[in-house]
Symmetry: C2
Amino acid sequence: MTGLLTDLYQLTMAAGYYEAGKANEVATFELFFRHLPRYRNYVVAAGLAQAVDYLLNLKYTPEEIDYLRGLTQFRRAPSGFFDALRELRFSGDLFALPEGTPIFANEPFLTIRAPLMEAQIAETYLLATIGFQSLIATKASRIVEVAQGRAVVDFGTRRAHSPEAGVLAGRASYIGGCIGTSNTETGFRYGIPVFGTAAHSWVQSFSSEKEAFGRLQNLLGDATAYLIDTYDTLDGAHTAASLGPPLWGVRLDSGNLVELSREVRKILDEAGLNNAKIMATSDLNEYKILEFAAAGAPIDAFGVGTDLATSTDSPNLGVVYKLVELDGRFTAKFSEDKHTLPGAKQVFRFAGHDVIACSWECLGCGAGEPSAQALLRPVMLRGKLIEPLPTANAARQHAAESVKRLPTAVRSLFDTGQEYRVEHSRELSALYEKFQHENSLLRHRHAD
Amino acid sequence: MTGLLTDLYQLTMAAGYYEAGKANEVATFELFFRHLPRYRNYVVAAGLAQAVDYLLNLKYTPEEIDYLRGLTQFRRAPSGFFDALRELRFSGDLFALPEGTPIFANEPFLTIRAPLMEAQIAETYLLATIGFQSLIATKASRIVEVAQGRAVVDFGTRRAHSPEAGVLAGRASYIGGCIGTSNTETGFRYGIPVFGTAAHSWVQSFSSEKEAFGRLQNLLGDATAYLIDTYDTLDGAHTAASLGPPLWGVRLDSGNLVELSREVRKILDEAGLNNAKIMATSDLNEYKILEFAAAGAPIDAFGVGTDLATSTDSPNLGVVYKLVELDGRFTAKFSEDKHTLPGAKQVFRFAGHDVIACSWECLGCGAGEPSAQALLRPVMLRGKLIEPLPTANAARQHAAESVKRLPTAVRSLFDTGQEYRVEHSRELSALYEKFQHENSLLRHRHAD
């Protein structure tokens, strides 16, 4: 069903390209964001595996094609277009950053080079896939940063933007640094660790909290995390402590978590349960966790739900997908505040800064030059995956290592006034200026 | 694959209920929100159709069960539990508000009455489904309200939280009052009108804007909407005007939309194209549209993307799913700031206010009493849908008529200090007080 999961205009344009004999012209599109999202100093790239799945499976069923034929917008479309749609598979090339790479404004997440019709249709799905998972991986990265080594688990599926978004948020959270998720579908599909024990309804469904806790301990042993606030948190802590080992620990889900964690710690320690952990949940986010850390609250793990799965303080990543080359010529857009740079690009990462260059440049390649890494790598060629993608676990390690190398000011939760340095190569700047000049001549001509 | 799309703890609890012989105790859960979301005076209920789909299709494949068996959390689970999971289908009852109904804090969207194990497992999916679509239907309702009869179209899929969220956002936007969506999968699945014509890449892919426009007109006829800002909006308007009819109109996507719409209107009128429409896009939301309306900008239609599909200013709806009855007894939760009211409920809607009552009450039923409508209706009984659900189109009409009846202050974009009046019936209040009293005795006993 993936074929129709796009904007109608991609398909009307595809029909138009077909009619104009342009459907098979080779187009290059780049996917990037123009500005960092609000309250973010970097973005962690994620979603590539799902983008590849989409490209490998893109097709139209006869029912889907019949649906399109029936739309008024396709009344005048040439019937050959529908035949082309029936045969359509993605046959192009994909270049992309590895998942887990921190990136900045105007740096492509990915580049598609494919027949115009295919590349155009893929826009909508690619944007939604990369944009969303990168948004959540970024949020997770911030939360993990302030948790300072304490475990963070994604509990957000119930508040995600649809159940499927919850599955993908679990994946992206893991790439961003969470130790796992509560979503078992995420665990099943992507081999990501899953966590969780019991809810308030468990406690309520037995005649006493003590019975509920005892049965949980019997079931889960040293994985037991008692949820202790159904009736009264401190009473709950005493009940949990009275049961002794085995247990993992307790979970606090309401009230003043700094104060309660101290009192609960004391109750557990007095019962000799010094190894029992305290997990906190309840509308957490990176700002609250920073406060807990500053207050020295004895909390060992955080379950983060709503704010993680929806990136509440900054719920959008303004990703765009722009045509930069067509049939061997460069293209660009000059709309107010929305211009694009012509030509396919490469991003070179030096020790403390990036340079966006033309795709054919090789920076850091000369003798004696500081060395740089080219971030965009071939992933698919002529519609085929060239090698298996790194696992989510590998992407998570890559993110952790890469984020650690960013300057402290960039890793801050707040706007420190220090932006990561991203330059344009001299060749790219020259190309853009040439294009601006030609465009102003063109506009001049139009006005005549 | 729906079975695993839940939180792990629902499944560990299910195993525990099975072991405790409680898996088949009849449980009643209610799905509601405790507080209206930030910047919202009402919420439009949506997502019921997908909740029903889920309940009708809930099951576990052998591969999914093997996955669970392999998790450490199920090491001690009785093997009969996995057999029960293999046989599991939703066999309970579902009561719900019709989609499109405006609702307020503590009013159930839906009530599930089912064997405890089934009802527990369903929590996560139901929350994500109802919460997300209601969030987006509400956002759409606000945008449509300020558009004052001008068409609003959902263009948000590319920025939605995953491609599937985009499909569902299109559906929810339509229920909230949009005339349709750009997402063709939404159109195909749910019979919702689809819209769209061409993007900047279309214009860029031809050697001149005039050629691009001419070809579009040829393809789309009177459905043609020229995107006129690729190079220069006013030049683009002149080019569009020079082509004459047929056309639907033009689309502005950057710059000062109030000023540009006036100048473009003049260009179109001077060319005799008085019927040509002007559509505006470019990071719109209800606040910007309110300004356009106040300025009298000659804009006929709005395409709204990111802010609609993610409800940017208020990206979460804090839906919860709480156990209110089990095996014939009432249950409630007394955590700080997170208490729940015991017992299954009904919502009675009077002319200007609502009353939340116990499920067995009948308000407005006595002679001479003001009449009221009971909002929660049976939808599924013993696992079967009792009649086909209303279409998305019927839900949209229901929303439009119901929102129109809300007080002006409640329909405002802003916090007017006037909340919609929602009371508790005397019987419900008495039941809650009785419960609080019993709970304080219980806590007293615990402390001894």
